[in-house]
């Protein structure tokens, strides 16, 4: 295997958490080792004694929702001293603007404009605006591992040398959904989180944000290095970890392998350690499986609480600071270590030099992500050379208002609209009722797609990994959870709805059904969610030796109350529509199969069409190779989108058919995934000459290009 020396340095750190605002305050809180967990005050609750949580004090005011403000505070800190904008922003978030949405819904607010910051992608977009980044603003939502997954994605992009500066991390504010949701699962310790203590009863839900400015260039000051990352999926249960910590151990091992290090090289482990009986036991088992002797270790969640999507980034930042300061933070709250865990977390903050540490993050859906973090004086790590191979489509499937793949494509070839909402029974016709009894529309749609894709590929072996896109996630579960919460005066929300409401619930279910224990990433990029999933799959499939194949899917459900409020392309006059599509992809060429390439993904800055054309091989190449364009212009961006498309056609001088695919699919965020299946079908049915390519272009808020061709 070829390898090259590449260093990914931490050039800036922004951190805001219950421990304080900024590096100095955070370090002082770690040294003082006094729990910052206090009874909830961020929003009012009806119960007279609110549960203990980790909340940020003194957050600056602005018209933006709380998650956005946390994220922007961290972003500005991380960019301090740098005037050049980053090439990309990658943010992990699970709550987005939902704290505000909850309040608006309770007031019965019906003005969609008020809900414009609901979407997860708006947090990354606001960060990008704040730091003047016109490149990719990506959003990952893998529950409590989101922040670490975002940093992992940045690492892959920097190792491939596609970008030089990336601002990556996580942000989540406290909200009713997570506060009452974790409580409904009986996972909250009424006395505050005390990870690994024998009397621990659960976690403390918290909030915060951390962003790392990462670079493969020489920064003016380095706070350390990201040496490797490892992802895995338990493929075991939607909310409980694998009891033996199988997925956790796999993620730690993958991270060590990725960094080309052995377990003995790790001098400190920053544990996920939420304080729930199950997590801490499973994690300690996983650690003991890999490490003998076990290095010094601690979870800081007894100090800060569990910042959910922010936690992985907060803890990566804390780990980096601690390495720089020769400080090992304490496992606050653990008075008597649980004998069953058989580990001995650090009792008091210790002064000890360590050069390489591991930081663990695990989430719902069995979503695991581990980072290897090194001190700035580390030797450059040997990174794997990325494989610049095409991605080949082994199977495809879609669901639209017209039906599954066959019915949808027949409708399309008759040039009739597929827009509509397929009956749930038809969506799930190939799924066992017992298997999907707890799942609502979005997750059933995703599972049905995965099953159809696998059938179409006619392969027994399912892919190892899942890359999922969704603009809005599980709207039914989110609606039903909040509805029951409100109607029962905050007494009886549904734990099943809470577990199902996370954006990555569908991808987790796919992993369980098909035994996909590799990377499992859900992206939420509004109308460009499928493209974000494809971009992420591309980065992981070509850089990770262990990953050969993946489901790459996207889906969105129409919800009669939420879709018109949240999706700016949906209003009272829009035909209700939903669905999704996707592929079984493998790395490398397969004769006679169709290949897909994500050629371009960018914000919609000025003069963006020229770089788009260049990324597609230039005007002449396009004129020779391109047979058809499927153009996606979301209704909310119709004016800008049409101008962008016109500009593209004029600049290229292309005289080929252009199909506005949303006229066929209807308006929903992951319509581009159906367009991708349409493009593949056009090629495979012989409608397009074998030597021609089909482009699926996205316009509006982002400019994207996917290229499909026969091999």
């Amino acid at each position: 295997m070829s390898s090259k020396k590449i260093t990914v340095s931490i050039a800036g750190i922004g951190i805001i958490s219950p421990l304080g605002i900024g590096l100095l305050a955070t370090e002082q809180a770690l040294r003082k080792n006094r729990s910052a967990i206090t009874p909830l005050t961020v929003f009012p609750v009806q119960h007279p004694s609110p549960l203990p949580v980790g909340q940020v004090q003194d957050l600056s005011d602005s018209p933006l929702p709380r998650t956005h403000r946390l994220a922007i505070t961290a972003a500005n800190q991380a960019m301090g001293g740098y005037t050049h904008p980053p090439d990309a922003v990658i943010l992990g978030s699970t709550t987005g603007g939902i704290l505000r949405t909850e309040a608006l819904l309770a007031q019965g607010e019906q003005d969609p404009e008020k809900y414009r910051y609901h979407g997860l992608s708006t947090v990354a977009e606001e960060i990008a605006r704040e730091v003047h980044c016109t490149g990719q603003a990506l959003t990952v939502s893998t529950a409590c591992s989101s922040g670490s997954v975002a940093i992992s994605m940045a690492l892959k992009m920097l190792q491939a040398d596609e970008v030089q500066w990336v601002l990556a991390g996580g942000a989540d504010s406290l909200c009713r959904l997570t506060y009452f949701g974790f409580h409904s699962l009986q996972l909250v310790d009424q006395e505050g989180s005390r990870p690994f203590d024998k009397n621990r009863r659960g976690m403390s839900v918290a909030e915060g944000a951390a962003l790392l400015l990462l670079t493969n260039q020489q920064p003016t000051h380095s706070y350390g290095q990201i040496l490797g990352c490892g992802l895995s999926c338990d493929a075991y249960h939607s909310a409980a970890p694998h009891p033996q910590g199988q997925g956790a151990a796999a993620a730690m091992k993958n991270a060590l392998d990725n960094a080309c290090l052995a377990a003995a090289d790790i001098g400190y482990i920053n544990l996920h350690g939420t304080g729930t009986p199950d997590n801490d036991l499973a994690e300690s088992r996983a650690v003991r499986k890999l490490f003998d002797p076990v290095p010094p270790l601690s979870s800081i969640k007894g100090l800060s609480g569990h910042g959910l999507a922010a936690s992985g980034a907060i803890e990566a930042a804390v780990t980096a600071i601690c390495l720089e300061r020769d400080l090992l933070p304490a496992n606050t709250g653990c008075l008597v270590p649980d004998p069953e865990c058989k580990i001995h977390p650090i009792k008091k903050p210790e002064k000890q030099p360590v050069s390489v540490a591991l930081s663990n993050s695990f989430g719902f859906g069995g979503n695991n992500a581990c980072l290897v973090i090194g001190r700035s004086d580390n030797k450059p790590s040997a990174a794997h050379e990325p494989h610049k191979a095409d991605l080949t489509i082994l199977g495809k499937a879609c669901i639209t208002g017209a039906g599954h793949t066959k019915e949808s494509m027949e409708q399309f070839f008759r040039l009739e609209s597929m827009a509509g909402t397929l009956d749930l029974k038809d969506i799930a016709k190939d799924l066992a009722a017992r298997k999907v009894r707890r799942l609502k529309r979005f997750s059933q749609m995703a599972l049905a797609l995965a099953t159809s894709v696998l059938n179409d590929a006619a392969l027994e072996q399912a892919p190892h990994s899942v890359f999922m896109g969704s603009g809005w996630g599980a709207l039914s579960e989110t609606h039903d959870f909040l509805d029951k919460l409100q109607s029962s005066k905050e007494q009886f929300p549904s734990p099943i709805d809470f577990v199902g409401s996370v954006h990555n619930s569908a991808a987790g279910q796919i992993a369980i059904m098909h035994g996909a224990t590799g990377a499992n990433i859900t992206c939420s990029g509004g109308d460009y969610s499928f493209e974000q999933a494809l971009l992420t799959a591309d980065n992981f499939l070509r850089s990770d030796e262990k990953l050969h194949s993946a489901f790459v899917l996207a889906a969105d459900e129409f919800h009669e109350h939420f879709s018109p409020l949240f999706d700016p392309s949906v209003d009272g006059n829009t035909v209700p529509a939903d669905g999704g599509g996707g592929f079984y992809l493998c790395r490398g060429a397969v004769p006679k199969k169709t290949s897909v390439r994500l050629c371009f993904f960018s914000g919609n800055g000025t003069d963006i069409i020229d770089p788009l054309i260049a990324a597609l091989g230039g005007k002449e190449h396009l004129q020779n190779s391109c047979g058809m364009i499927l153009a996606g212009i979301p209704a909310a961006f119709a004016d800008d989108g049409e101008i962008q498309l016109d500009h593209f056609m004029q600049q290229t001088g292309l005289d080929i058919p252009v199909i506005h695919y949303r006229k066929f699919t209807g308006e929903f965020a992951s319509a581009s995934s159906v367009a991708a299946v349409m493009a593949t079908h056009l090629l495979e049915s012989g409608e397009i000459a074998v030597d021609k390519k089909v482009l699926v272009l996205g316009f509006g808020k982002n400019i994207t290009a996917m290229e499909f061709g026969r091999q």
């Binding site: 699962l185 009986q186 939607s238 009722a433 017992r434 707890r438 929300p493 734990p495």
Partner: protein
Amino acid sequence: MDTLSEDLKKKLIEILNLTDVTPEEIDENAQLVGGELGIDSIDVLEMVVMVEKEYGVIINNKEIGEKIFSTLAALTDYIRQNSPKFS
């Protein structure tokens, strides 16, 4: 016929969306969690919410919870003994 037991069967089918099961098919002495119905820890929590909401019985202790939800008969007995509705 035990009305409480029959009510619980119907509620279980409804809240756990067991669309392919009829109340008659549920054996009240069979293992409830991890048994044939495929009921797991999250379902138990959903039942905890239902039991509190419908019968005013609070179950927030894992050890006791495991006993109460061992069979439908045990759950019925516990509710009958502890619910204000039956006192």
